[in-house]
Amino acid sequence: MIAQQIINAVSLGGVYALLALGLAIVFSIVGLINFAHGELMTLSGYALLAALVFGLPFPLAVLVAVSCGALAAVAMERVAFRPMRDASVTSLLLTSFAVSSLLKVVFQNGISARPQAVAMPGWMTGAFSFGDFTIGVGPSISIVVSALALIALELFLRRTVTGTAMRAAAEDFNVVRLMGIPASRIIATAFLLSGLLAGLAAMLWVAQRASVDPLMGFTPVLKAFIAAVVGGLGSLPGAVAGGFLLGIIEVLLQATLPAAVAPYRDAIVLSGVIAVLLVRPQGLIPAVRVQRS
């Protein structure tokens, strides 16, 4: 029972961490909280549904769905954010709200406001047992996928020139441009990565629920935003730490709160967030960012 809860906690935390990382990567470079991040997740969910309906084998459908999330993120930057390159942060924020609302309406009117069932393969809902322990396949896959994604991202940021340039751009974007590295390449890569992570998170989210609806991305991305703030906005290790912390606390409270107090779970979690920010206003692991006029 406890093992099962730990697995659930880490698996939920992993999804939050992937989403929070996506928000943090874009924020660290463009200074934008992309509120349309949730819609990237929803879009990947629908892409998975469509791919399965078209009869693609499951692994291929997942690949298509994740790629759709990544491409949609790049397209979003191209269409909505690039023309606003020199605009204020407030304008960017409003733009991201507009994109988010627009996509939600398109999903509601173009597809359906009701949840659509996604036919996940049967083995996903299975479980394995070690003696007394029973562990769900879904949450285990979720943990493995999150861990692999985090490792791959870390390797990309540390080992490749583009990744190094992205870490540098988070500190001082203009100086990266002085090195001859194009601003648009850095920004497009940031969105591509955030879309990839949103797509992966969508797969893990849908795997647990076997359905997609137009508002699917809203709650997890709101949680991811909280995780990113708690971790230290714009800090990538902070986003991961915040995501896992939030996931673990949520599951822990779910499992231990008495029935009478259970409805206050989110209030308790958010009080915890306020407490953390009172003690560490820059978050758990603050971002290194040189502020320039």
Binding site: V161, T164, A165, R167, A168, E171, D172, N174, V175, V176, R177, L178, M179, G180, I181, P182, A183, V288, V290
Partner: protein
């Protein structure tokens, strides 16, 4: 090699640069001197593409580069070492250098160039794996210059390399600039320390209130009454 014609720069209502004309020939060190707020850094910023020019023209190698993005100007071989060094504090010395050559050189070329830089700046070899932010001010200045040289630029714009450095370090940095000049590099140097700048430069331009008030060979300027009274304290 570089010419700036009737450059004007505005920040909102404020005219930071009213009119600057200057020309730099290949292999020269030109010093751009003047008091705080004279428009020196803004002029460098406009050449490098970081600051938009309100009017006027910047021509490099016969090509009009006015209004180009900083990355496009960098690719043409103009490299700015910004004021305050602005090295990437969270990155290692090695990564700082690597980014300097990222778009200009192939991987093997970059490795060879990095070796050259480490020979030129032995202190950077010692701190190769250290984070840039852990270096002292002088070491960071070395790193900023080395990073700018990584891409084998044809011209380097140096913005206040002596700022905030201890006197003996200033000497080291200026010895280095003199050495770079001997390798044939063209340098446009912005400096508040006029005496030092005139010692090292071939020619100098004095800016005041966003305009060129005096220009000539470094020797001429060092003996001019205006420069002696206003900047050299003689």
């Amino acid at each position: 090699m570089l010419s700036v014609e009737a450059l004007k720069i505005r920040y909102g209502e404020v005219e930071a640069v009213r009119r600057v004309d200057l020309a730099v020939d290949s292999g020269e060190i030109i010093a751009l001197v003047g008091a705080n707020g004279a428009g020196k850094s803004s002029t460098l910023g406009a050449i490098a593409g970081l600051v938009p020019a309100a009017s006027g023209k910047v021509v490099f190698d016969g090509v009009d580069i006015t209004g180009l993005a900083p990355e496009a100007i960098a690719r043409k071989g103009v490299s700015l070492v910004p004021e305050g060094r602005r090295i990437f504090a969270g990155l290692t010395v090695a990564d700082n250098l690597r980014l300097g050559g990222a778009v200009h050189l192939s991987a093997p070329e970059a490795r060879a160039r990095e070796e050259e830089m480490l020979d030129l700046f032995p202190i950077l070899r010692r701190y190769h794996r250290a984070k840039g932010g852990n270096l002292s001010g002088g070491e960071q200045q070395m790193l900023a210059i080395a990073r700018a040289l990584m891409g084998k630029p044809r011209m380097v714009l140096l913005d206040e390399p002596s700022l905030g450095l201890a006197p003996q370090l200033i000497d080291t940095v200026f010895d280095l600039i003199a050495e770079l000049r001997r390798t044939g590099l063209t340098i446009l140097l912005v400096e508040q320390n006029v005496a030092l700048a005139l010692e090292i430069a071939d020619r100098a331009i004095v800016l005041a209130n966003g305009e060129v008030v005096l220009s000539g060979t470094a020797k001429e300027l060092a003996s001019s009454d205006l420069v002696r009274q206003a900047y050299l304290g003689a």
